[in-house]
């Protein structure tokens, strides 16, 4: 393997090891590794740092992509909105990090939630602008019937999955703000899934190409982001805190994939 190739794959190896570590924590919490070496406090701190690094890198790379596109390029606002969405998530994570690193706790709700909620309009707008850019490009995005069927299918699937998951979440006791936020995240994710489904269809047509690689990474990152929010809502409301490592693994993977996609796009624009 060449030095360049090794350098390219190193961040993916780090991401894979990190995700495996968190999944291992959830699966084997009682082993010596996780009680003596990688203690819950250390892993929470590690998750906080990794999320910050990936979110900051993703923000910077997405903004650089926007900078490399011409002012009249229809995809330019999409990259800007994506960078704002990642920046809002970074700000949220930055609010939580001191608690997680120094006090081994994750306050909820907190000021971080303002930023996390704020990220959604940016992410949703980013995907919608991107869809509009594809349509204007003259590249095929499927017939109206095809798109309607995809949206109806995703909507129906989301309802089938969300209702049984969110019903116990909404029904649990606790402060109203907690419950509103716990339900709001997955609901916002489901809204995010609609343009995402249409873009995934386009990304599949790009498979095997450099642009396809970019969009598969970014869109799968957003899928994991949605999954992380749903896991969070479910585990949080049901008090299943021993499953938190899955939430960390999902978010670290989500942010890592989105950052990786933005980096690949930047490489493509610079090539």
């Amino acid at each position: 393997m060449s030095d360049d190739r090794r350098f390219e794959s190193a961040p993916w190896v780090v991401l894979g090891v990190a995700v495996a570590t968190f999944v291992g924590w959830a699966a084997f919490p009682g082993t010596t590794l996780y009680t003596q070496v990688l203690t819950p406090h250390r892993l929470l701190a590690l998750a906080a740092v990794l999320k910050l690094v990936y979110l900051l890198a993703g923000t910077a790379w997405a903004f650089a992509c926007r900078d490399h596109l011409e002012p009249d390029n229809p995809a330019r606002p999409a990259w800007f909105l994506l960078s704002l969405g990642l920046l809002a998530n970074f700000a949220g994570q930055l609010c939580l990090a001191p608690f997680q690193v120094f006090r081994n706790e994750t306050p909820f709700p907190s000021v971080a939630d303002i930023f996390y909620v704020l990220a959604y309009p940016f992410l949703i707008a980013s995907l919608l602008v991107l869809l509009k850019a594809y349509r204007e490009s003259g590249f095929p995005i499927g017939s109206l019937l095809e798109r309607t069927l995809i949206l109806a299918g995703v909507g129906a699937l989301a309802a089938v999955v969300a209702v049984p998951i969110l019903t116990p979440v909404a029904a649990t006791g606790g402060p109203l703000l907690d419950r509103i936020l716990t339900v709001a995240y997955p609901v916002l994710d489901l809204v995010l899934l609609l343009p995402l489904a249409l873009l995934l269809r386009i990304a599949l047509k790009l498979r095997g190409s450099r642009a396809g690689e970019v969009w598969v990474l970014i869109l799968s990152g957003i899928v994991f982001l949605c999954a992380g929010d749903i896991f969070f809502a479910y585990f949080q409301s049901l008090g299943e805190t021993h499953l938190d490592p899955f939430v960390h693994a999902t978010f670290v993977l989500a942010y890592g994939l989105v950052a990786g996609g933005a980096h690949r796009q930047l490489q493509l624009l610079r090539s």
Binding site: G138, F139, K205, L268
Partner: protein, 84 residues
């Protein structure tokens, strides 16, 4: 050169950037819209086709890279024509 041959040449150049499936469906869709269906493709039709494809590639590659891919496709088409 026939439209089918032109499509094959353009798709081969664009495929590494946007994939074989997207390259083919985009090129065929533009050919249809531009009325490139006869037995031979004219220089004007090639220009119009590459102009449309270049505009679409901008979304993925930016203007400079897109222009270089279009230039590459133009060269490949010219080489194909010359080899006939």
């Amino acid at each position: 050169m026939t439209p089918t041959e032109a499509v094959d040449v353009v798709v081969k150049v664009m495929a590494p950037y946007i994939g074989d499936t997207m390259a083919r469906s985009a090129t065929e869709a533009h050919c249809q819209k531009l009325g490139i269906t006869g037995s031979a493709v004219s220089t004007e039709q090639v220009d119009a086709l590459l102009g449309k494809l270049g505009g679409g590639l901008n979304i993925f590659l930016g203007r400079d890279k897109s222009a270089s891919v279009v230039a590459e496709a133009r060269q490949a088409l010219a080489a194909r024509e010359a080899s006939r």
